[in-house]
Amino acid sequence: MGSSDARSGELLPGTLEMLILKALARSPKHGYAIAEFIHAASDEVLRVEEGALYPALHRLELRGLLASEWGTSENNRRAKYYQLTDSGKKQLASEARYWRRMLGAVMQVIESS
């Protein structure tokens, strides 16, 4: 279907921050790795625009949900690594709860006869 093609990879509004937090749940990552993680973890459905990713990262850092640190990447480049703070972890938990409920509700509506 033409229309679904046009929308492929577009994020649901409001989900980006939650996805970023989730991407960092296991380990600290740099920006590129975060984008890749979301892309891979979503079976290559979701693609995060760079133009949106970085402002969002900075916003989360500013709100104290993320902390950042310069480190060395796998290919020996200087890269900025982000990691969850305690309040970031709490935020992730509550966001995840919220989305689970929301999406569950949406699915239920779709599946209903």
Binding site: G31, Y32, G51, Y54, P55, H58, R78, K80, S87
Partner: protein
């Protein structure tokens, strides 16, 4: 850490490490791009596309970690400063002019407020009521026949105070202040300004002294009973260096020693607005201060009253002005009936005098009647100047915005946010109005001093509690900011909406947008010309008025004439001795080298005093219901010939006109025309009907009309009687003006004259010594003030209008460079091009004049009474203003026109 706190911490940190953060962001993005290229195998170009507009991305990141709004604002201001600094002339002129407009408006309103509107700085000033005329000052001796009394006598004040129930208390003040030479603990005499006030003055006003004590009602027990002095704060500061020891010191005046008992707080200048008082003395000291006069009782045998007091009352709680007036009417009627009982039958009109109560909140002031009108006129002028300045700013901002269209388009193309650009234009406007506001505040402070200086007589600075009115200042700077904002924003919106491609390419849209702003620019300049017309018209009116007044024919020559007023009673001469004293002084003055002739007179020339009496004239019957009256003066021998008043018939007052000789007088032409109507007046009689000094005089001469009191009015009927021929036994004038005709510079004899008077008797007080030129200059003080300020405003408006016109035409030439190039290439003559530009300028000027002249004429009702010898529609003024503005328009057009003619067609076409 709570979320908001960490946010705040990071944000406040960020402005300090801006560069660091910028670098980090760049590196972070660089890394991301490198990873994309490496892992996904993308080309640089594809990476670039994936990133989109990298400037916009950085900008939005930046906004997250800074106080974006605040930081951007400062950045905008910095940028605005840089752009403004680039066009220095523009910035300086625009700011200065706006500042002048705001400063002048604020200063003049501050003065208006101080002189007209502000209440006295005393306890509950709104409960004060004035019994007398607040504009009146001086001493008036005589009888009042009808109408509200302007001043009261001491006895009248005392009686009113004891009888009236509507007032909790009443106080009285000497209506004039006295500049006298006093000594501080026996030091050299120095001029001090005294004002006599009743003992309860300070307590009724409710102002406690700063140190020591003030007078009380106890300081009022009989003449001479309270030799105490209370000082003004500024005098204490300037003369005694704020030393508390002042309370141990004494002031000596005419042999009486006054103990200094207190100092009033700063800001308290007394009940009079405008007069400077150094020292207050109790009213009961009048006989010690004005030697040889006793003004503390009324003589029931005489109809004369010495009226010299301003009287205030403080309303009792619950009593209003109307109730107080009703009670006062009754009491006053009883008082006059009793005190004038001997005269009621012969002069029933004596009972017509009344008391009119007025709100006393604003105190008294002679300035008020003199300066109300000029100050309103000045306020109007300053307001128009402010409008011109706003129009000027608008025009210049418009032109600059148009000129910067390409720059703006370029920045939008490079990713600058539209909102950010608009904010930058606003910042520029704000910076202009901010700078103007600061400069305007300074100008307001300076302008107040300058205007007070211009409005004061030399050596007698007006003393006012005046501050720039900051509320008005806030208002004017608000208006100015709004104006700059609107005109800064309109072009900003226009520019940012423009089609980028076309603007950058310099095609059609550019020309169209340019023509719109060129049109707006012309309208703005025409507005400025209209305002300038109004200001120049006003300048013309006041300059011509001043010239007319200065060139007015006085009826005698004011050149080489000096006038000195002396008060011999301070030397304790008896009244009978005065004739000898006056003659001796004349003999002494006439011997001074450089003096040609000397005469004297009681009121003199522009000396400030005046006499007027009811008269009857032989062979003249007044129309029914009308009293015949005339001004008169008492003059010394050869008065007419020394002053230079032409003798039309008969003889001058001479040496033979002494005590015991036939009573004579000389009348002026106006007198002859009014009362004799073609009959020969010589040998006929006139009778001064004043009851105390009723005399019949024979007319022995007719003099030409001479102006000796006011410049603007017609010369009134007047008669001169011999000063040395007393009206009653010993009734010589108690002060005298000497008129000294000199061979050369009249001011050169003043020093010698003072010495001669002191040699006759060192205690004779010289009340003033001025050349007639100086006395006349005081008469035209307000006219000069108006003329000067109107001329300055007009000139300023003209200069900036020329600047505005120049800017608009330059812009128009620049915009049409290619068009003019084509015309020149096609063979158009250069003078034709020049003529077109000049015609454009003249058209704008004409539109401005077309609005400006009618506006000026309509506004002229405000100033009509200030004009002298011309009408507002004076064709010379109108023609001069039109000529000046036309020449100015052509001159402003010349440079742009020549630049247009000098365009190289080939280069102009290549530019496209």
């Amino acid at each position: 850490m709570p979320e908001w706190l960490s946010t705040l911490r990071l944000r406040t940190r960020s402005p300090l490490r801006r560069d660091q953060l910028d670098r980090d962001l760049a590196e972070e993005l660089e890394f991301h791009a490198a990873m994309m290229a490496e892992k996904r195998g993308l080309s640089t170009r594809e990476v670039g596309r994936a990133f989109g507009n990298r400037t916009a991305l950085k900008e939005s990141c930046r906004e997250t970690w800074t106080f974006a709004a605040v930081e951007a604002f400062f950045q905008d201001l910095r940028y605005a400063w840089r752009t403004l600094a680039r066009g220095k002339a523009f910035a300086i002129l625009a700011v200065l002019l706006l500042a002048l407009g705001m400063g002048a408006t604020t200063a003049i309103f501050g003065l208006l407020d101080a002189v007209l509107l502000k209440g006295l700085p005393v306890r509950e000033p709104n409960r004060l009521v004035l019994f007398t005329d607040p504009a009146e000052s001086g001493v008036s001796i005589g009888a009042d026949y009808g109408g509200p009394r302007s001043l009261l006598s001491y006895e009248e004040f005392i009686t009113l105070r004891s009888r009236l129930r509507s007032f909790s208390d009443m106080f009285a003040v000497d209506s004039g202040y006295r500049r006298l030479n006093a000594m501080v603990d026996g030091s050299a005499p120095e001029e001090v300004r005294f004002r006599l006030v009743s003992g309860n003055y300070f307590t009724v006003l409710g102002v406690p002294p700063l140190i020591g004590r003030a007078f009380t009602a106890a300081d009022e027990h009989g003449p001479g009973s309270a030799p105490y002095a209370v000082l003004n704060y500024a005098y204490w500061r300037d003369r005694f260096g704020l030393s508390a020891d002042v309370l141990n010191r004494k002031l000596q005046l005419f042999g009486t020693s006054y103990q200094i008992i207190g100092v009033m707080p700063p800001g308290f200048l007394g009940e009079n607005v405008g007069d400077l008082v150094n020292v207050w003395l109790p009213l009961v000291m009048q006989p010690q201060v004005r030697l040889g006069q006793f003004w503390l009782t009324d003589n029931p045998a005489k109809v004369d009253r010495v009226m010299w007091l301003q009287v205030f009352g403080r309303l009792r709680d619950g009593v209003n002005l109307r109730q107080a007036q009703t009670e006062t009417d009754v009491v006053w009627r009883q008082m006059t009936e009793a005190s004038f009982s001997r005269f009621v039958s012969s002069q029933p009109q004596i009972l017509k005098q009344a008391l009119k109560l007025r709100p006393g909140e604003q105190g008294t002031s002679a300035l008020r009647s003199q300066f109300t009108e000029p100050l309103y006129v000045l306020l109007a002028i300053a307001g128009v100047l402010l409008l011109t300045a706003c129009a000027n700013i608008a025009g210049l901002l418009l032109a600059r915005a148009a000129a910067r269209q390409k720059e703006v388009a370029m920045r939008i193309a490079l990713g600058a946010g539209r909102l950010r650009l608009i904010r930058q234009f606003i910042a520029e406007s704000l910076l202009v109005s901010l700078a103007a506001a600061i400069a305007g505040g300074l100008i307001a402070i300076l302008a107040i001093r300058a205007i007070i200086g211009l409005a004061s007589e030399p050596g007698d600075l007006i003393s006012l509690n005046v501050h720039p009115d900051w509320r008005l200042f806030a208002f004017t700077s608000g208006v100015a900011s709004l104006a700059t904002l609107i005109f800064g924003l309109a072009p900003a919106l226009m520019s940012t909406r423009a089609n980028l491609n076309q603007v950058l390419k310099g095609t059609a849209a550019n020309v169209a947008g340019g023509s719109a702003s060129a049109h707006a620019g012309r309208i703005v300049v025409a507005t400025q010309i209209a305002f300038s017309t109004v200001l120049l018209m006003a300048a013309g009116w006041f300059a011509i008025t001043l010239r007319n007044l200065e060139r007015l024919d006085l009826g005698y020559s004011a050149e080489r004439l000096t006038e000195i007023r002396v008060d011999p009673l301070t030397a304790r001469f008896s009244r009978q001795q005065l004739a000898t004293v006056y003659d001796e002084l004349k003999q002494r003055l006439v011997q001074i080298p450089g003096v040609r002739a000397v005469t004297f007179s009681k009121n003199g020339l522009f000396g400030g005093s005046d006499s007027q009496d009811e008269i009857s004239v032989e062979g003249y019957t007044a129309p029914s219901g009308e009293q015949s009256s005339s001004r008169w003066d008492r003059v010394g021998p050869s008065y007419l010939s020394v002053v230079g008043i032409p003798l039309l018939a008969g003889r001058d007052i001479g040496l033979e006109d002494q005590a015991g000789a036939r009573r004579v007088c000389v009348i002026n032409r106006a007198f002859a025309e009014k009362f004799f109507r073609g009959r020969d007046p010589i040998g006929r009689h006139i009778t001064d009907e004043y009851p105390d000094t009723r005399v019949t005089l024979e007319v022995v001469g007719v003099a030409g009309d001479a102006r000796d009191r006011k410049l603007r009015e017609k010369v009134e009927p007047m008669f001169y009687i011999p000063a040395l021929q007393p009206l009653v036994a010993g009734g010589y004038p108690d002060a005298m003006n000497y008129q000294i005709r000199t061979f050369a510079n009249p001011s050169s004899v003043i020093e010698a004259a003072r010495k001669q008077i002191a040699a006759a008797n060192p205690n004779i007080r010289v009340m003033f010594a001025r050349t007639l030129g100086e006395l006349l200059a005081n008469q035209t003080l307000r006219d000069r003030l108006l003329a000067r300020l109107a001329l300055v405003s007009g000139a300023l408006a003209l200069v900036i209008t020329c600047f505005g016109l120049y800017a608009v035409l330059s812009f128009s030439v620049a915009r049409r460079t290619s068009e003019i190039g084509i015309r020149l290439a096609l063979g158009a003559r250069k003078d034709r091009i020049v003529r077109d530009i000049i015609r454009e300028a003249l058209f704008v000027a004409l539109v401005g004049l077309g609005f400006g002249v009618p506006i000026a004429l309509a506004a002229s009702t405000l100033v009509r009474s200030r004009l002298f010898g011309l009408s507002a529609a004076d064709p010379v003024t109108i023609a001069a203003v039109i000529t000046v503005l036309t020449i100015a328009a052509v001159a402003s057009a010349l440079v742009p026109a020549l630049r247009a003619a000098g365009i190289d067609p080939i280069r102009a076409l290549r530019c496209e």
